[in-house]
């Protein structure tokens, strides 16, 4: 029975080695297809007799060189897909939001204790304006922090535009349906475009509301209507009674759009037009 191994072919007649050059061996290894019914694992001494290596150390060393080369190639291919960097970009964006909110809240608290008569009540004072006041009035550490928050806000704005633009490139159809930013957030939660393209619409519908979903599965609580896609205006602007329906139709269309993005990679206007119409219909109260 012929066995095809990384170092060569082995059968009853003997062994034909494929040389000792790691690059050539790695190249050859990518072409091997193993049927598991007739497979037997390697006896390394066969490889030695085949002239692959003089001793066990040499055998393992060559094998490591080949496997390392193959792994590096596979990593390079995996990172080539445009969604890998987008994933990091959108996660960084979410972290920035977190940091900015935390720091702003803390800076506001700090500022209040330096001004006994200060209160935010009745002043319609969002964090952003509050920050301007702090930057004007405070000094020392607090004013440094306020300046830094301001800078981070700038970073966040620029990164958001970058994320949106990249999402338009990587997932043109999903972005056309729900906008680049929400599209990128879905991608991030799914873990990549290939994962998103393999998800059913019903999963996409509740991506980002895992807590509510699992508390529903574990017992009693009502199921979530929407997760990340709530951020899309057609879901959060929809009247309460039809919001679930809009979310359902929208996520079904996103599932199709994600597959178009993954397998074709170009915008399909006919699909988008039809999908937009269906989603709008779902939003009309019965």
């Amino acid at each position: 029975m012929l066995q095809r191994y990384w170092f060569g072919d082995v059968d009853e007649q003997g062994c034909r080695g494929a040389g000792t050059d790691p690059a050539a061996l790695a190249e050859r290894a990518t072409t091997l297809r193993t049927g598991m019914e007739a497979y037997t694992p390697i006896d390394w001494e066969t490889a030695r007799n085949c002239g692959v290596a003089r001793d066990r150390e040499g055998y393992i060393n060559l094998l490591r060189a080949v496997c390392t080369r193959l792994a590096r190639e596979k990593i390079a291919v995996a990172y080539q897909a445009g969604d890998v960097e987008l994933l990091q970009m959108v996660r960084t964006l979410d972290e920035l939001d977190n940091v900015i909110n935390l720091l702003s809240e803390r800076a506001a608290e700090w500022h209040q204790v330096t001004n006994p008569s200060f209160s935010r009540k009745y002043r319609r004072l969002p964090a952003r304006k509050m920050l301007d006041i702090i930057r004007r009035e405070a000094r020392g550490g607090l004013s440094d922090v306020a300046d830094e928050i301001n800078r981070l806000t700038g970073v966040r704005g620029r990164l958001m535009r970058e994320v949106s633009a990249r999402a338009d490139e990587v997932m043109p159809n999903v972005s056309a349906l729900i906008g680049g930013l929400v599209a990128a957030r879905l991608l991030s939660r799914a873990g990549g475009l290939s994962a998103l393209a393999r998800m059913p619409g019903s999963t996409i519908q509740v991506l980002g509301s895992e807590r509510a979903l699992f508390s529903h599965l574990r017992g009693g609580t009502p199921p979530p209507k929407h997760g990340i896609i709530f951020q899309h205006r057609r879901v959060h602007n929809a009247p309460r009674e039809v919001r679930g329906r809009v979310a359902r139709v929208l996520s079904a269309k996103i599932a199709i759009a994600a597959r178009l993005d993954y397998f074709r990679g170009v915008l399909v206007p006919e699909f988008i037009d039809d999908a937009q119409r269906r989603i709008d219909e779902a939003g009309v109260a019965a």
């Binding site: 990384w6 497979y39 006896d43 496997c67 390392t68 792994a71 990593i75």
Partner: protein, 200 residues
């Protein structure tokens, strides 16, 4: 296994992930490594210098590096690109780790590189963990061992961990003799080490 007092250690070059050193040995932390937890809780299947090991789900190679300190060779299978980057760096410095980037669900992908092994160590977060173990038994010598770190939460979050473990045990008993089932509390929640012997 090597113990200094009641601290589990392994012999090898340190500094892999910032582990503590003790009298020139690498401290093997049960909170970071499920295999270390297994030994600290009295697990009896020791690693030996002539062992060949297939490690499924090697991730960043933290535990794999300790295993490599004890045995002849570790075939380390990991699928996700980011951890494989780290695994490759560890394999570069440790001459007995063979890094394999492949899916443990598809043993045919790495079969051309595999020799017979004495031990399969599996730590993968997949719902079909038992099935993955069974598919890989073709590499395991008769009389060889399987240590399956069963992540019950990955199999089914809704079921009671003890039920999941009992189910896994009876499935494994189709091809293997189950030697022990050891829960890894307090170091790891809802994880059980299932140790089996291959009937072959």
């Amino acid at each position: 296994m090597i113990w200094i007092g009641d601290v589990l250690v392994s012999p090898g070059e340190g500094g892999v992930y910032g582990e503590r050193m003790l009298e020139g040995y690498r401290v093997w932390d049960p909170r970071r490594s499920k295999l270390a937890a297994y030994y600290l809780l009295g697990g009896g299947l020791d690693l030996a210098p002539d062992m060949r090991v297939l490690y499924l789900g090697a991730a960043n190679g933290t535990t794999a590096s300790h295993v490599a300190d004890y045995v002849d060779v570790v075939y380390s299978v990991e699928f996700a690109p980011r951890p494989v980057q780290d695994l490759l760096e560890i394999a570069r410095r440790r001459k007995n780790i063979v890094p394999i980037m492949a899916d443990a669900n598809r043993p045919d992908e790495y079969a051309p590189f595999m020799e017979w092994v004495d031990l399969i160590y599996q730590d993968v977060a997949q719902p079909n963990q038992v099935e993955i173990a069974e598919k890989n038994l073709i590499f395991l010598k008769p009389g060889g061992h399987l240590i399956l770190m069963l992540k019950t939460r990955s199999v089914d979050v809704r079921r009671d961990p003890a039920d999941v473990a009992a189910g896994a045990r009876s499935e494994l008993e189709r091809h293997l003799d189950v030697v022990e089932v050891r829960w890894l509390e307090p170091y790891h929640q809802d994880h059980a080490a299932i140790v089996c012997t291959h009937r072959g």
